[in-house]
Each structure stands twice: as C-alpha cells, then as structure tokens.
C-alpha cells in the first residue's frame, strides 16, 4: 500500500515516472486540498518554494505560488531570466546549486527539453517540472485528470480526443502518458504535420487503444472528453497552409450541438481563437474550471513532496 510519505523528497519530472497507483494517490490528495483553498492552512508554514521561470508563463507560475501561499508557505524566484545571472550565461546546473540553498523545493519552467531532469540531478532539494520545452508538463496532466474525475466521476472507460498541435504541445504529451495508465480510448486529432510525437506514440501504443485522425466531426457524437490545444502559426513554414488548417480545428457552439450533452471541453489555456467565446456559456465548457483543479493538484504535490502529509 502506498503511503503519503512515499512521496517525500520526490522529483516530479515526467508523468512517466509515476505509476497509476501513485497518480491516483495524488488525485485523491488533491481532492482533500479543495476545502483548504477557502479555509487556508499552515501545512507548509516555514517552507520556501523557489520558482525558476526561464520562459514566461504567468498562469503556471501564479498557480504554483498561490498553492504555496494557501498552504502557509512562502515563495521566492524569478520569471524574467533576462534580469538575472542567467542572462550573463550562467548554466542551469549552477543556478540550481545556488537556489537550493534558499528553498525547500524548486519549480522550473525552461525552454529546452530535458531541462527539469538535469536540474533535478544537480539539486539536493526536490524539483518539479513546470514545462520543459516541447517535452512535458506533468502537473498540467495531473490537473487535467483531476478535472475529468470531477466532471465524469471516473477516467476508465472514457472516449477522449486530444485536438490540435500534438507534435509540439507539451501538455498533450504528458496527458497522453497519464491517460495511458487508464482504460481509455484515445483519439489523436491533428493536421498531418502536427501528429503526436513518435516518442509518445511508442510509449502509449500497446497500453491503450490509440487512433490518429485528421477530422474531429465523425468522432464528436460519441466523445466524453474533448481536449483542445492551440495550433501555432510559427509551426507552419507556409502561412497559407496554416490558414487552411486553422479553421478546421476551431470549436464553436454550433459544432458542439452534434456532440453529447455531457461532453466536456478542456483546454490548457491560454486560448486564442481555437475555442469560440460562445462556447464559454455552454455546460460543456470546462476550461476555466480546470484552473481551480490546478491549485488542488499543486497544493497536493507540494504537501506530499515536502512531507507535510503523514
């Protein structure tokens, strides 16, 4: 049986480093955190979180900082590497070995793949990956799972589609890995040039049923979860190609009419044009509710890793 203190001191680098049992344990702990958001808590009083954001991300950073504050801990860090020693060419290994003296846990966002793994190898304190290049974003995957659980009451048995940029989108990589622990049918819907990375496919095929496709429409009426991601213009060498693709991956209220009533639409945010504003008022819109789950999951991770839950 898994115990809370099995998580003490652990890094969170890739969702692949966690078993289904461990993921379920984190999700359960996250549910226990929900009431603490209102009540407040001093579970992590005296503990310090360092946020090292080598790439701008207001959302994820605020979520981690709020989680730490809600549990009574405090936060130090930077979000503009341009003004720190990093701009002078300091290596990540050095930065981490300095910062670990000030903090009990480090959260890192970095533009290069593998950065969080490297940071964890140099740091004595636990490291949480808040996004490493186009590789992974494990805490996002956990909050996605927690959201699905709340909406559906289960993850097993669901039909789930990931839509958009599956090649470079780190959130869909981590989510696909996470979902491969459950008994789900996974549909990967993307333009051909943005298909799921072969590394991810190799790992999840064989564990779950995976179908790759170009078009969402034939799928929509059976779907339980639609996870939408942004398709970035920069990914297309030819702007015309982008314009062609863009429209077919846009979700609006009218399109959702052909889907089930209990379909949930998710998105890691920020959303640009891929979900029309008229979806916001529908009961299918779950993307803003997800933000709340990010708080629960990150509170749970921080509390577990810092050994505050026995």
């Amino acid at each position: 049986m898994l115990k809370a203190n099995d998580f003490e001191g652990r890094d969170v680098i890739s969702i692949k480093d966690f078993t289904r049992e461990e993921i379920d344990f984190i999700l359960k702990t996250a549910s226990r955190m929900a009431p603490l958001v209102e009540k407040g808590s001093d579970l992590l009083r005296g503990k310090i979180l360092a946020t090292l954001f080598f790439e701008p991300s207001t959302r994820t950073r605020l979520s981690f900082e709020a989680s730490m504050h809600r549990l009574g801990g405090s936060v130090i860090g930077f979000s503009q590497p341009g003004v720190s020693s990093v701009a002078k060419g300091e290596s990540l290994a050095d930065t981490v070995r300095v910062v670990e003296n000030y903090a009990d846990v480090i959260v890192i966002r970095h533009p290069l793949e593998g950065a969080a793994r490297l940071a964890a190898e140099f740091a004595q304190v636990p490291v949480i990956n808040a996004g490493s290049g186009s590789e992974e974003h494990p805490t996002q995957a956990l909050l996605d799972l927690h959201t699905i659980l709340e909406a559906k009451g289960r993850i097993d048995g669901l039909k789930i589609a990931l839509l958009g940029d599956l090649r470079y989108g780190r959130t869909v990589h981590s989510l696909a890995y996470a979902l491969s622990n459950y008994d789900v049918e996974l549909f990967l819907v993307s333009p051909p040039q943005l298909r799921m990375k072969r590394e991810v496919l190799k790992d999840i095929k064989g564990k779950i049923q995976v179908v790759e496709m170009d078009d969402l429409t034939p799928l929509l009426q059976d779907l339980d979860v639609l996870y939408v991601t942004r398709i970035q213009k920069e990914r297309f060498p030819d702007p015309l190609e982008y314009e062609k693709v863009k429209g077919s991956y846009r979700i609006d209220k009218k399109l959702l009419e052909s889907g089930r009533e209990d379909l949930i639409v998710m998105h890691p945010l920020p959303r640009i044009t891929e979900i029309a504003p008229d979806v916001d008022e529908t009961p299918q819109a779950w993307y803003f509710k997800e933000v709340r789950h990010g708080l629960y999951v990150r509170m749970a991770l921080l509390a577990l890793i810092l050994g505050a839950i026995k």
């Binding site: 890739s14 060419g89 290596s91 990540l92 290994a93 970095h110 533009p111 290069l112 793949e113 593998g114 950065a115 793994r117 490297l118 190898e121 490493s132 290049g133 186009s134 590789e135 072969r198 590394e199 190799k202």
Partner: protein, 154 residues
C-alpha cells in the same frame, strides 16, 4: 578459411574487424573517423558468406591498433563484431565489442533543443532501448535515435 585469405591478405600488424553486420563496413570506418587519407593500408570485404551471420563484412586496418573507446563505438552499428589486434602476423589480442546499457559521451542527443546540447556541465547520455535494430533514447529529453541518427555524427 582459404577462401577468406584469398579475399583479403593476412596483415603483419594492425586490427582486423570481423563479423561486421553485412553492408556496414564503410560505416564502421566512418564511425572510427577513418577516411582513407591516413595512409594505412585498409582492406574491406563486404557481404562475405559467414556460417554465423549468413553474410558479414570484414575490415583490416594495417599498422593501427584500435583503442577501447573506438571498439565501443563499433558496437553501436555492428553489435556482433569481433576485433583482433594483430602483431607480427599473429593474433595478439581478441576483443568483443559490447554495447553497454547506457552510452555515455560517444554520441550526442539528436534533438538540437535538448538541454544536453546546451552549455551545461553534463555528458550526453543515451539509454539503449533496443540493440538490433539500434534504438537509443536520450536520458534527458527522451528523444529516440536510430542507427542513421548516430552515423550522421561521424
């Protein structure tokens, strides 16, 4: 045996690399950084019938003994290769190539935006997922590499 000696002559000093995966002799030379302009006599036999492998390649490099790290490199593309160091027409040393579980420092990660290809104090580290056909995976970023990705670096 007589057939083989007809194909390539015996050498006095140097290295014989035998049991190379058929068709990969030139890649073995490439991975060793041997371009043919070094002046050594080099003999190559390709697709030679072999009892053990069906077909195989053989490379003989005269007046040069391979160093251990060079032997390791060969394992990446010819995991069955055997290496004989020849001195005075006789086999002085026999070496087997062995592909370790983790390749450290010989090959770089093929992903240009991998942290191990940046200015960090780390040695590239690739885990061997599969020996034949070769499949490596970067310890840091998880990028998958095949034989061709490895050969591009030499």
């Amino acid at each position: 045996m007589t057939e083989r000696t007809l194909l390539i002559r015996k050498i006095e000093n140097g290295t014989v690399i035998d049991h190379i995966t058929a068709g990969y002799a030139l890649d073995v030379l490439r991975i060793l950084g041997i371009r043919g302009r070094e002046g050594n006599v080099i003999s190559i036999a390709m697709n030679v019938p072999s009892r053990k492998l069906g077909r195989k390649d053989i490379v003989k490099i005269e007046d040069r003994e391979l160093r251990p790290e060079e032997v390791d490199r060969i394992a990446l593309i010819a995991p069955q290769a055997t290496i004989n160091i020849i001195r005075d027409f006789a086999v002085a040393e026999k070496k087997r190539v062995t592909l370790p579980e983790v390749i450290v420092g010989i090959v770089k990660c093929a992903n240009p935006t991998c942290i191990s290809n940046s200015n960090e104090p780390v040695t590239p580290q690739l885990n061997v997922v599969q020996r034949s056909p070769l499949l490596l995976r970067c310890h840091y970023c998880g990028t998958i590499m095949e034989k061709e990705d490895v050969l591009k670096q030499f």
